[in-house]
Every structure is written in C-alpha cells, then in structure tokens.
C-alpha cells in the first residue's frame, strides 16, 4: 500500500500508524470524517458517522486520506501543526496520533506565547518518541509542563532549557535532567541558575552526554570535574580499570564561556579526564591563567579551542607563546582557534600553529601584535580548507599579506571579517572577485575602502562568473561606518554582482 520509499523509516512508521488508524476507523472507534458535506452539518454531528459512501460520492476528488494530510502537515511549523488539530475529529486523531510529527520540538520561536497547556499537549503527542526539545526562554511555562516532560521519554537525546529560571528552580534542574540520563547526549543550560553541585550530579548520571553548554552561568566548572571523579571512584570500587573509564568519557563539546569563576582547576581537571573533547569554549573566563592553559595539550582530539578574552599574561615562567607552541606540537586535529584582545599573541607561535595544524577557522580580534607575517604564513601553509577568517582591529596586519591569503584560499574561503582596519583598501577587490565561495564579507569601519572599489568588485565578480561559470555565493556585505562609501555604491552592490546581496550599511 505505501507508495513511499520502503527504506525511509519515517514513512514506514508512518504507514504503520496509518494502517492502525484505518483499522480503528473500520471498527468505528475513530471518526473518519475527512470532508463531511457542508450542507448537512447537523446530521454529521448527531449521527457521528456520516455514511462514508455518501461522502465519497459527493466529494470525490476532494477527500484527502490520512497519509496525505499528514504529509502536508509535515511541511508546517509547529504552531500550524498544533492549530490543525482543531480542524475536525479525524484530523485531530491523525495529527496527534502521528508521534513522528512531534519528535523534534524546537519551541524557542514560540517562547513568548507557548503556554503550559500547549506544551503539555505537545509532549503528550510525542510520547515515548520525543528525541529533542528546545524550550529556551519559554517564559510562560510552569512546573506541570516540566513534570509532564520528565516522565516516559526513553529516547530524549537533546534538551535545551536556557534562560529558564523562574519556573524551574536550580535544584530542580539536575532532577529533570536525571530523568533522561540513559539517552541524553546534548544539554544546554545557558543563563540558568545551575550551580557546581548540580553539575556534579548531572555529569555523574548522564554517562552518554556528548555536548554541554553552561555558558553565562555562575559556576566555576569544578562541579563537572567532580562529577567525572565520582564516576572514576565508583569504577575503582567495582574493580574496573580506571584508564578504560577515562578513555570512554563521552564528552566531546564543552562551553563554559562567560563564566567568570571558571579557572585553572577546571582546565587541569578537564584536560586529564576528558580525552575525547573536540570543542572547548572558555571565552572571557576571567579566572583562567596561562599556566592552566598549558594543560590543554593533553587533549589530543581537540579540534576547536576558543580562548577569546582570557588572561594571557606570563606567570610562573609560562607564557602564552609556550602554550601555543605546545598546542601546535600536540594538537594534530586543531582546526579552529580564536583570540581577542589578547595582547600576548605574537607572530612566532601563530606561524607554528598555521604550519602544523589543519586550520579552517581563524579568529583574531584586536590582536595588536599579529602582523602580515602570520597572514603570509597562513597563505603559504599546506592548509587547503580555510573557511572563516577574522582579522578585525588588527592594526599591524597589511593588505598585501591578506591579498596573498585571498589568492591562495579563494576556492574555500566563505567568511571574511576585516572590519575596523585602516590598512584595508581597494586593492583587495580584484582578487576578492575571484573568491566565488565567499558568502559574507565585513568591511565595517574600514575607512580606506571607497565606492569606486566596491563597484569594481561588483563588475569583476560578474565578469568572473561569466568567464568561468562559477556562481558567486555572496549574500552579505558589511559596510557600516565606512566614511568613503556612499549610499549609492551600497545600493549598486545590492544587485551588482548578479545575485541579490544584503548590504548592511549604516552611516553616521
């Protein structure tokens, strides 16, 4: 019967559900009223079961069966899906009875409107099939919503409850998370009132957790370390080899950015206990010191490290340089690095990093000691997949090195931020026109970029497209506060390339 791909598990479950419903309809326990006739509403209500032959004859061609209605509903956002349960009995049964429409509930777009009753009804629709739920900042939810959520969800893998603190007090968070301990892989608790004790409980119970985001919380992160230590203690007690337990630590992604209390004890603990960590974000963790960062070289699987805004002054004989050299030597998979306002990032260690690591995302903001030498090294390195470069407010870099960089990475570079630099001028445009993968470019506050250059860029990009057949990917350009650019040039750029480009242009 099912016309849809036999290999599509969604449709298989789908067809099974529909068959179930069909047999229920035959038994008369579910009302099959796809399109009862307009002219006989009373009869429909009283009889509760219009003769389906009658209906079929008069509305032939208009009667859409369950699987088609559900296929249509699948294209609708959650708000419309829920709304359609109020159309008629049949639709209500079909839509509510198809749990696969409700397995991934991203309800953050409805944060201002979603009520507790609404949420409870959505959770009920999903039933045991609920796999992912995001309730960030859903202001109207009260505790009954969370208790309904917590029971009977053996498949819940993703939970995001950022910004929820009114209706879910800090003590309740570990309890809620604990209900999903056997399946949870991703947990987001940004800006909640979770504390280190709560984190310890969470890390101890959720042994499959791969991604944890507790940025902007009042924690020192030591709770995470204590949680892992407790797991090890229990392993020792049951005579399991400790190295195996550590090697099996599931955590891959950890974000503790903007937590001012996160410091060295956290870094030291994580470096020893989370060997599988791939992505670590400690942006603006003001209690971290360079000596703690030195331990990061132990995380051999680290692909991404965001150290923006952390303290990098030399202390106890350890300098940021030394740290970066050790990272370059040990982290063979490092692809993302980020520094900002870091006064102590010099060329030499950066050149080591670009020569030894397969970098694809390089973020330097307000790094006053980075010069053209680093950029030249980046351009000449073996790196083939450079995707995102930020060189915002880096006054010691120069245009020539960036031009070389653009030339060598024109087949991969998608995102470029050169904002706030006086050395950026029109010379970059001919080569920029050949960067056909480029999606976003930011020239905000670059006072030496002129309207003439912008127009040249548009013309040459269009010509390049014609010549090579490679479509440009450009969709966003930042030109805020560029003193030498007029509204005219900004407007011309919008369609000048041959495809619509959003130009962010404000002039004070």
């Amino acid at each position: 019967m099912s016309n849809l791909s036999k290999h599509d598990p969604y449709y298989l479950e789908f067809s099974r559900k529909v068959k179930e419903l069909r047999s229920l309809i035959k038994q008369g326990s579910v009302n099959d009223t796809t399109s009862p006739i307009q002219q006989a509403p009373k009869r429909a209500r009283q009889a509760n079961q219009p003769s389906s032959d009658e209906v079929a004859k008069k509305t032939a061609g208009r009667r859409l069966p369950a699987e088609i209605v559900l296929s249509v509903i699948r294209y609708l956002p959650f708000k419309d899906r829920a709304l359609n349960t109020g159309v008629c009995r049949a639709w209500r049964n079909w839509i509510r009875g198809c749990p696969l429409l409700w397995t991934h509930l991203d309800l953050t777009p409805y944060k201002n409107k979603l009520t507790t009753a609404g949420a409870i009804s959505l959770f009920r629709n999903a039933g045991r099939h609920l796999e992912s739920v995001r309730l960030d900042d859903c202001k109207k939810l009260t505790s009954p919503a969370f208790s309904t959520l917590s029971s009977g969800r053996p498949n819940l893998k993703v939970l995001s409850i950022s910004d929820i603190y009114g209706s879910l007090p800090a003590e309740q968070i570990p309890k809620l998370v604990d209900s999903f301990k056997n399946s949870l892989t991703e947990l987001t608790l940004q800006r909640t009132k979770i504390d280190d004790d709560g984190l310890k409980l969470i890390m101890w119970s959720c042994l499959k957790l791969e991604s944890l985001d507790v940025s902007n919380c009042d924690i020192s992160g030591i709770g995470i370390v204590r949680g892992f230590e407790k797991v090890i203690k229990y392993a020792k007690m049951s005579k399991k080899p400790v190295e195996d337990v550590i090697a099996r630590n599931s955590l891959k992604k950890l974000d503790v950015s903007f937590c001012p209390l996160v410091g060295n004890p956290f870094l030291v603990g994580i470096a020893s206990l989370c060997p599988n960590l791939e992505d670590l974000r400690v942006e603006r963790c003001s209690s971290i010191r360079v000596s703690g960062m030195f331990h990061l070289h132990k995380l051999r699987n680290l692909k991404s490290i965001i150290l923006r805004g952390t303290e990098t002054k030399e202390e106890g004989g350890v300098s940021l340089e030394a740290v970066l050299y050790s990272l370059a030597d040990n982290l063979r998979q490092l692809s993302t690095i980020a520094f900002s306002h870091s006064q102590h990032v010099y060329d030499a260690p950066v050149i080591q990093l670009v020569n030894k690591c397969p970098l694809s995302h390089v973020y330097f903001k307000s790094c006053v000691w980075i010069t053209g030498a680093s950029i030249e090294a980046l351009a000449q390195s073996k790196i083939t997949n450079l995707v995102h470069v930020v060189l915002s407010a880096c006054p010691a870099v120069n245009m020539d090195s960036v031009i070389t960089l653009l030339m060598n990475s024109r087949k991969s570079l998608k995102n470029l931020d050169l904002s706030n630099n006086a050395w950026v001028d029109d010379r970059c445009f001919p080569v920029l026109a050949m960067c056909y993968m480029m999606v976003r470019v930011d020239f905000s506050k670059c006072d030496n970029v002129t309207g003439v250059g912008i127009l040249q860029w548009a013309d040459e990009a269009k010509a390049f497209w014609k010549r090579t057949g490679w479509r440009p990917s450009l969709s966003w350009v930042g030109l805020n506060d560029c003193n030498k650019i007029s509204l005219n040039s900004a407007t011309t750029l919008r369609s000048g390339i041959g495809r619509p480009v959003f130009v962010d242009y404000r002039f004070h």
């Binding site: 016309n3 849809l4 791909s5 290999h7 599509d8 598990p9 969604y10 449709y11 009302n31 009223t33 796809t34 399109s35 009862p36 006739i37 307009q38 509403p41 429909a44 209500r45 509305t59 061609g61 208009r62 859409l64 069966p65 699987e67 088609i68 296929s71 249509v72 509903i73 699948r74 294209y75 609708l76 956002p77 959650f78 708000k79 419309d80 899906r81 829920a82 709304l83 359609n84 349960t85 109020g86 159309v87 008629c88 009995r89 639709w91 209500r92 696969l100 429409l101 409700w102 397995t103 991934h104 991203d106 409805y110 409107k113 979603l114 009520t115 009753a117 609404g118 009804s121 109207k140």
Partner: protein, 162 residues
C-alpha cells in the same frame, strides 16, 4: 528505440508514453516488470486517474524526466516548503479540485516528487491560516462538541496570532 507504454485512464482514454517517463511512477514500473515483454500488447489500466489528470501527470513526468531520484528523508523536523521551482509553481497553479486530484493521482501512482510538490503546495495554502479558513479550503465540517472546542481552544491558545 525505447519502448512505449499504453496507459488507459478511468474514462477510457489511451495514452502512449515512453517507458522511461512512465517509469517515474513506481506503480507502473512495478507493473511493467511483472508483465515483462507483453507490455506492448497490454495497456495498463489506471482506474483511479481521469484523462485530464493523467495528461497533467505525464506533462510533469516529461519535464522532470532527467531529475535524479528524490532522496528518502528521515528528518522529522519541519521541512521547507519554500523551495518550489518556477515551472513547478506554475504547474500547480490550478483550481483546488484539480490540485487534490493531482495529489491523489501521485499517491496512487507512487510518484514521490510530484506528491511532495503537491503536499508543499497545499502546506503553503494553509500555513498561517485560521482553523475556520482551513475547514473552508477542504470543505470540512466542524464536528467537535462545544466542550471539546473549548478544550482545544485553550490548548492551542499559543498558536493564535494576537
């Protein structure tokens, strides 16, 4: 020389279609495999598809004959319905009765791409509409009791705009 297939609509009209195009319908493709080489002699009856709809289906299949097969999708996140090509949008710009007939035909003939297109079109029609408007589109009568309506309204309060 590619084979042609004879298809007969519900109202008795015959259509000769190149088998490569006809095979976009999994139903027809399977039937042809079952019949084997006798396809030329035996027209395939399609009792659920009228001639006018069958013609439209053939037009669609002809335009899309070189398309790669539609991948099966396991995602249960809301799928995008904004990516309808211009030709497809014009093709679907028909009266509602025809639209529904096309969807039913695509369902019967097992043509995923056309079915998806039809469903996307209908989804775009009902997105953002109120329950009453949706009932009108599908010619559906409200068969809830007042108490049920009240319960549903409370549950779905968050869905309403303003």
């Amino acid at each position: 020389m590619s084979k042609t297939v004879r298809l007969t609509s519900s109202d008795g009209q015959d259509f000769n279609v190149v088998s490569e195009i006809a095979n976009q319908s999994v139903l027809i493709k399977n039937m042809l495999e079952d019949i084997g080489d006798n396809a030329d002699d035996n027209p395939i009856p399609l009792p659920n598809v009228s001639a006018s709809i069958l013609q439209k289906v053939i037009d669609y299949a002809t335009y899309h004959k070189d398309d790669p097969p539609v991948p099966a999708d396991e995602d249960s996140k809301p799928k995008s319905s904004d990516d309808i090509e211009d030709w497809d949008r014009d093709f679907m710009n028909v009266d509602q009765g025809t639209l529904f007939e096309l969807i039913l035909a695509a369902n019967y003939l097992d043509m995923k791409a056309l079915l998806d297109l039809g469903c996307k079109t209908v989804a775009n029609m009902i997105k953002g509409k109120t329950v009453e408007e949706i009932r009108k589109i599908f010619n559906i009568v409200n068969d809830f009791t007042p108490e049920e309506e009240e319960q549903i309204r409370k549950e779905n309060e968050w869905c309403e705009d303003r």
